[in-house]
Amino acid sequence: MVRKIVATGLVLLMSAAMVFAAGRAEGPADDDTLRIGLLVKSLGNSFFEAARDGAMEAAAELGDVEVIYQGPSTPTAEGQIEIIDSLIAQGVHGIAISSNDENALVPAAQRAQRAGIEVISFDSAVAADGRSIHLAPSDDELIGRSQVQAIAEMIDYEGQIAILSASSTATNQNAWIEWMRTALEEPEYANMELVDVVYGDDLSDQSYREAVGLFNSYPDLRGIISPTTVGVAATARAIQDEGLVGQVELTGLGLPSEMSQYVQDGVSQNVALWNPIDLGYAAIYITYHLLRGNVEAEAGAVIPAGRIGDIRVGEGLVAVLGEPFVFDASNIAEFADIY
């Protein structure tokens, strides 16, 4: 009897939670309001929380937009596919995706397109078949080159360096790493050697372990580039724990809040990142104008994006938001409070 009551109670509780959650996700279906899904790599990542804030800001400015913020609890393509399908079922008007897998999401994205939904990607691209415009946070080439330049300045253009990435299938990571390799062929980096690329899967413990592995494998290692927030923070912690501050330099792409302590402690002289708030903000503006038919998704199109100004669509329908912003000891503390 007790068991039955408990079981019934649990079922009721779960149903209530689902109804509650669904109610929040859908909201009123008003024909005049455009409903846009902002689908991120995973929930609970400060970077995307900031992007959501930007998206909300854009929605508030535009007035007739409702943002549905969604993402899987772990950064997997499978989770994102499920969410795309549920967004289709909810009948959203547009979806802006930061993808966990460039190709795996294409079929689901195409289903959405066939259902009349405008699909764009931002931050991490969906392959061209599955979206109209991709909003790159920055130019892949620019990021790759600026990261190499940053580490080069820290180690005086000499010595072994390694890269600690997120997952080995992350689209954006791989593009940047390619450009880093290309940049390293320039004559001014002739005395630098890229000895290894390792993957920490955006998990603290795995990234930390990979960083320690690098110290073990390459006793003469001078610098590490980690173009991902979890990775660069875990690497900073590992450098600190192993007493290698000053011996192994670190730069990368990381949230100022996560990196503030380490930059101020001198573990890393500087890290860079674009502004995720602007990214989310711009993604909503682009989707909005496409949906309203104000612009066509074609190379050369110019899309007005509120306070950011105009965004130009380039080759392969890729639009670039801007250049990565550098945080160092002088400014990171104030940004740490924002994101």
Partner: protein, 341 residues
């Protein structure tokens, strides 16, 4: 009296068995030594004492969680919620520290153990009294507790600069040449060993997992034993939550995601019977160390990341199969001895 003739071999069998029990753990030790040697050939720096210490440091959290897992598996249960419990408790104490940096660490340590133990107690009560199968119950709370992390954090992380220096340094201040994390791990191992081998409550976990009916006959309460095991597992998970966020100086929402399966793997490698009633603290220590070495070794011998997961799984399987085969061969030998005696 010379009547009980076949009993005369009992004494011989007893010590013989002791040797086998030792040997089962020695099998694992040999595998570990071989593994370290093989990795050392490929990356000599792996063999330096400092490196070993860093691997040990990296393995402590897994070891502690596996000790809790051991207690639950002994009662023929399983606790899949440990990693979520860790993440929730870690987030909770990190947020407390962020909001009230002045609260002394000892209070946070106590709080982490308490929070973890409560989450464990919920599992235990539902399994023991509600008769929900442990795998179903903890599969459920694995998601529920993980969801609670998102609820209290609102999706945001607690970062290094938001933590007090004492909090950030808690897992790594050095005492007698070893980091505090290692000392806490050693202390926990000792206490769990004492509990499981030298207290009535500990032995009852074995009895309940081995034969619940028989335990009832001799007045051992299966419900109490199961609740105790889950509370222990939860308390340890809570404490490791504090240690984890302190060590990585970052409390995230997907902290330790998937870690529960590593604790089960470490337990099984260490010879813990998933059917309950059989498993030892030394075995679990070796199992966790083995898994820790495999994970660390793969990062230094330059295996392609695409292969790492498959290799890790393969090595674990080999260790388990080798362990089982040795065990079975010994059993066979034993029963043959029994017949000839």
């Amino acid at each position: 009296m010379e009547g009980i003739s076949n009993m005369k071999h009992g004494g011989v069998r007893g010590t013989f068995l002791h040797r086998i029990l030792a040997r089962r753990e020695i099998t694992l030790l040999v595998i570990i030594v071989l593994l370290v040697a093989a990795v050392g050939i490929r990356a000599p720096r792996f063999l330096q004492p400092g490196r070993q210490l860093s691997i040990l440091n990296d393995t402590i959290i897994l070891l502690m969680l596996t000790l809790g897992q051991l207690a639950v598996i002994l009662t023929a249960g399983i606790d899949l919620s440990v990693a979520s419990n860790l993440a929730f408790t870690g987030m909770a104490v990190a947020m407390w520290n962020m909001m009230m940096p002045g609260v002394p660490m000892i209070v946070l340590v106590g709080a982490s153990i308490l929070i973890g133990a409560s989450l464990g107690a919920f599992n235990g009560v539902m399994v023991a009294v509600g008769k929900v199968p442990p795998i179903i119950m903890t599969l459920g709370t694995m998601s529920v507790y993980r969801g609670m992390v998102f609820l209290i954090s609102g999706g945001a992380w607690v970062s290094a600069h938001q933590m007090s220096p004492a909090f950030r340094g808690f897992a790594r201040f050095s005492f007698l040449g070893l980091p505090s994390l290692v000392w806490i791990g050693v202390l926990t191992t000792g206490l769990v060993y004492l509990f499981l081998n030298h207290t009535k409550g500990g032995r009852e976990l074995y009895a309940v997992g081995d034969n619940e009916t028989a335990a009832g006959f001799v007045g051992v309460s299966a419900n109490r034993a199961k609740i105790k095991a889950f509370v222990l597992s939860g308390a340890i998970a809570g404490l490791t939550g504090l240690l984890w966020v302190s060590r990585y100086a970052s409390a995230q929402n997907d902290t330790a995601i998937g870690f529960e399966l590593e604790t089960v793997a470490a337990a099984v490698i260490g010879g813990v019977s998933i059917m309950g009633g059989s498993g030892s603290v030394p075995g679990v220590v070796l199992g966790a160390v083995f898994l820790g070495i495999v994970k660390n070794a793969l990062t230094v011998i330059g295996v392609s990341p695409f292969w790492q997961m498959a290799i890790q799984g393969g090595v674990i399987l080999i260790a388990i199969v080798a362990n089982t085969l040795v065990d079975r061969r010994n059993q066979a030998k034993l029963s043959m001895n029994g017949v000839s005696a």
